[in-house]
């Protein structure tokens, strides 16, 4: 259904269907990245569920023969206030990610968190990983066994009874009985994972590794059938060679165990000892469990008895279902909800918004993540719209951002997912990067319910249309269905998570978020419309879920991006921040915080008789930016905007007085104190989470 990324983009080296998407970034280097979910295990056992989610995504990247260099984790929970269960999930999911990521030495450079009660029992833990390596290394290690006669080696941890049926558990709705499924959650071992990373990369360097596959969902069954099935070969596997953690495991248990920290290697016969020597150096467990052949049949032996005899492709090719889809009947009424007139002042609205769980600082989370290990993190957590890493030895930088607005998608999944693409591309563009490729993780309810399937179907349509039109290759995806509480009959809000990876050439082209100098112009790029459906303003101030959500005009978005890159070429953008939850004033406040600056705003130029002040200020219309430029450049900027037909407005100047003064609205002049906003912004999560 998606465009063939490998065929249509010359820099895409691996697209959907591989363990990770891979792109060529020049200078002989490639990037591999992928995102997937670990929702169900984390909802039952947050610490190990989240930790093994990290473990799994690291293995997927490692399979491409490259070093994992960054993690990003978008999360969803029920609201924290007065909700001990959500706090428990949140606390231990973050701890699980931190303990695992920190120990393996892979920095967690980004992520996002949204709190909404549809995620109360079904929290979402999506995990993304980026890997960096040479194109040479990547070519050495396809996740296929193409050659008959190669050895199949299992390396890493031992095989135990944990995680049997982990995948089938993850593909059911959660019920009151799900607590009993706790043994289906695997236990992570980040130390062994770290050793697997080093041993695998060193083994790949020998040049004798011809295929690599991690053991994730489905364990040995999936790994062996995918290696041989996708490689169009066959193989014989001897089960009793597998080193087990406990005696008496039967062949079924060995084949289906999802014990963590295991990798399968396909190795050239002449290189067997060289590869095993690497494993010996790192004191890793290993066993040569079989050989490939050209039979196109996968045979598994338990001692002398043949326990599996199946065409290799039979398991690697998936069945297709025809699902019914239906637009939920409640949507029309929700979308037609009008924005009530606020009963409190606009200043009070902003203070409440900045203190909302979904807008406030997530420092409580990222302080627990080692986001600097690897000495690559140039724009660090909390400092920009995306995480920026340098590629040592080149003048290139990568920017990565992940997220989606679940509330927008709940009201309109097609426009919502497009909005997410605009937002995530906007985040990397705000830091100066050109969006290179997208991966996604689709989190939805039970696909057997037509309304739930409709959300999935529309989201996929939205991704597909946007990415084709704006020429962004989709290089990977993952689907998590059945995020539905069977007892309470609550499905999660549709969450088609989007990750964008972008590229920056030259350190001087990195743009950061904070305002730099008093006296500079503040410009608003893009139109603002009365799009408050699913906004934080509706939710925090009016306790409303409905309203008209933002929609996307692809041509206008494209023009704004082109406009920004024209300005970047001239080096005239001093700060850039994409407008997101909470609207314009929240965005400007965030830009003031770092250097304790203020802003004198005059919105006269934005006057629109059809827009109320609250609609204008708190709209979440997508694809808008606030930029800082020197006033001397305004003429040039205006000229470029006119040529590219982009709506820009000068809305004020930066001031050294830490206060935002607002005039030019229909209502009277008001002002906001930066120190009060900063105090609220910084304290919310820790106040909720610390005793």
């Amino acid at each position: 259904m998606f465009e063939d990324a490998e065929a249509n983009y010359d820099y895409v080296l691996a697209g959907p269907g591989q363990d990770a998407g891979v792109i060529d970034i020049g200078d002989g280097y490639c990037l591999a990245f992928r995102i997937e979910s670990h929702n169900h295990p984390s909802a039952i056992e947050p610490y190990h569920g989240a930790a093994t989610g990290i473990g799994g995504i690291i293995r997927d990247i490692l399979c491409m023969g490259v070093r994992p260099i960054a993690l990003l984790d978008p999360l969803r929970f029920g609201r924290l206030k007065d909700n001990p269960h959500s706090k428990w999930l949140f606390k231990y999911v973050v701890k699980g990610i931190a303990d695992y990521g920190n120990c393996t030495g892979i920095p967690t450079i980004g992520g996002e968190v949204e709190f909404d009660d549809s995620f109360k029992s079904n929290c979402l833990v999506n995990v993304a990983c980026i890997g960096l390596g040479t194109i040479e290394d990547f070519k050495h290690a396809p996740s296929r066994a193409y050659n008959p006669g190669d050895y199949v080696i299992l390396m890493g941890g031992s095989t135990g009874r944990d995680g049997i049926h982990g995948v089938t558990f993850a593909s059911r709705t959660l019920t009151e009985m799900s607590e009993a499924d706790r043994p289906a959650v695997q236990i992570g071992d980040p130390f062994t994972k770290k050793m697997i990373i080093e041993a695998t990369l060193e083994a790949v360097k020998t040049g004798y590794v011809r295929g690599l596959k991690d053991l994730g969902g489905g364990g040995l069954t999936c790994a062996t059938s995918e290696l041989t099935g996708d490689g169009n070969t066959g193989g014989n596997i001897e089960l009793r060679k597998v080193f087990t953690r406990e005696p008496g495991m039967n062949s079924y248990e060995i084949m289906l165990s999802e014990s963590q920290e295991r990798m399968a290697f396909i190795v050239k016969p002449e290189g067997l000892e060289s590869v095993l020597d690497v494993f010996r150096k790192y004191e890793m467990g290993f066993a040569v469990i079989g050989r490939t052949n050209d039979s196109k049949v996968l045979k598994v032996f338990d001692g002398n008895s043949l326990v599996v005899n199946i065409p290799a492709k039979a398991l690697s090719e998936s069945p297709t279902f025809n699902r019914q889809e239906k637009r939920p009947s409640y949507l029309d009424e929700l979308i037609s909800q009008k924005t009530p007139v606020p009963t409190i002042g606009l200043d009070e609205c902003v203070y409440r918004l900045i203190a909302s769980e979904n807008i406030c600082s997530k420092e409580w989370v990222y302080r627990q993540y080692d986001h600097e290990v690897g000495v690559r993190s140039v724009v660090k957590c909390g400092e920009g719209d995306s995480g920026v890493l340098r590629i040592i030895g080149t003048d290139k930088f990568i920017a990565a951002s992940v997220g989606v607005n679940s509330k927008h998608c709940f009201l309109d999944p097609y426009e919502g997912v497009k909005g997410a693409l605009v937002e995530e591309c906007g985040n990397v563009i705000a830091n100066g990067a050109k969006p290179m490729a997208m991966v996604n993780c689709c989190n939805f309810g039970n696909p057997e319910i037509p309304e739930s399937f409709w959300y999935f179907s529309k989201s996929v349509d939205g991704m597909n249309d946007f990415c084709r039109n704006l020429r962004i290759p989709i290089v990977g995806g993952n689907v998590s269905f059945y995020n539905e509480d069977e007892v309470k009959k609550i499905a999660i809000k549709a969450t088609p998570m989007i990750m964008i990876v972008g590229l920056i050439k030259g350190e001087e082209n990195i743009i950061t978020l904070p305002f730099k100098n008093a006296g500079d112009d503040i410009l608003l790029i893009g139109e603002t419309q009365a799009e408050l459906g699913g906004s934080e303003y509706h939710s925090v101030i009016h306790t409303l879920e409905g309203g008209k959500p933002p929609s996307v005009d692809e041509q206008k978005i494209k023009a704004r991006w082109d406009f920004l890159f024209e300005l970047y070429k001239r080096n005239i953008v001093k700060a850039n921040h994409d407008i997101n939850k909470g609207g314009i004033l929240v965005t400007i406040a965030e830009m003031c915080f770092k250097k304790n600056l203020g802003a004198d705003l005059d919105f006269t130029s934005c006057y629109d008789s059809n827009l109320r002040d609250d609609e204008f200020l708190f709209s979440e219309s997508v694809g808008r930016f606030i930029i800082e430029t020197n006033h001397k450049e305004y003429k040039t900027i205006g000229e470029i905007a006119r040529i590219l037909n982009v709506n820009i407005k000068k809305i004020g100047v930066i001031s050294s007085n830490p206060e935002i003064k607002i005039k030019g609205l229909k209502s009277k002049v008001f002002s906001l104190k930066i120190d009060k906003m900063k105090r609220l912004y910084d304290s919310v999560i820790s106040a909720l989470m610390e005793i």
């Binding site: 393996t104 130390f191 062994t192 050793m195 302080r367 627990q368 290990v373 690897g374």
Partner: protein, 241 residues
């Protein structure tokens, strides 16, 4: 590239689970231009090197107690021999934990008082500028440097002795060098961030100088971490001359 310090050779030990080893190698080789080898802990021979750095990370996973298993690696026997020759032995973060567990440095590193891992930039005040890694700094100088640890709360039951012997090398401080409670990120005794042995050739510290040696990585554009590595070179040069 011109190698300024051709004759000097330093080892960075790769314990299983170390994860700042490559970062430290990068800074020494590419930024400081010092010939540095990554050496697997079982293979390390002290006679081949002028100094050794035990890098940050989670040696052997730190499952039992941070640094305790690595403290029994043969690499530590080699390190003891180096110290007898007055060659510098430096532990950064996990390396500091290893050195205290191996009894090469006094005290212990306990879990942070917040019970959480903390990754952030802090300020250090230089308390002793006579050691193998501070001789290029001024006493009382404040440096910018990041921490990233879960078990960094320094404790020692012989504080008075440490003070008398000048064994306290770094303390967490404010930007202006004040030793306040707020400037202490983890609850360390007397804000202590780094200590040395009596001979001042073995030093351990929790913060990461290798992350503070390039302007592009530093929030304020400072490169104070370089002073740390320059001091090590200076110490080795003085020893050799």
């Amino acid at each position: 590239m011109k190698r300024l310090n051709m004759s000097i050779r330093i080892a960075v030990i790769m314990f299983p689970g170390a994860n700042c080893d490559l970062d430290t190698i990068h800074v020494l080789n590419n930024v400081m231009n010092i010939q540095t080898d990554l050496v697997w802990h079982n293979y390390f021979k002290e006679s081949e090197y002028d100094g050794v750095i035990l890098p940050g990370g989670f040696a052997f996973g730190d499952y039992l107690r941070a640094g305790i298993i690595a403290a029994h690696s043969p690499a530590l026997d080699q390190a003891r021999m180096m110290l007898k020759d007055n060659k510098p032995v430096i532990g950064i973060c996990n390396g500091f934990q290893v050195l205290t567990e191996a009894n090469l440095l006094p005290g212990a590193l306990l879990q942070n008082n917040s019970l959480k891992f903390i990754c952030k930039w802090v300020n250090l005040r230089v308390e002793n500028n006579k050691t193998a890694c501070t001789n290029m700094m001024k006493r009382g100088e404040v440096i910018d440097i990041p921490i990233a640890h879960g078990e960094g709360r320094y404790f020692a039951d012989n504080l008075k002795e440490l003070e008398e012997n000048n064994q306290i090398v770094f303390k967490y401080s404010t930007e202006n060098g004040e030793l306040t409670e707020n400037a202490n990120p983890n609850g360390s005794l007397e804000n202590i961030a780094g200590v040395c042995n009596l001979e001042q050739n073995c030093i351990g510290l929790m913060p990461h100088p290798e992350r503070a040696s390039e302007a592009i990585l530093s929030p304020k554009g400072t490169i104070h971490g370089q002073l740390f590595f320059k001091s090590i070179i200076e110490f080795i040069k003085r020893r050799l001359s």
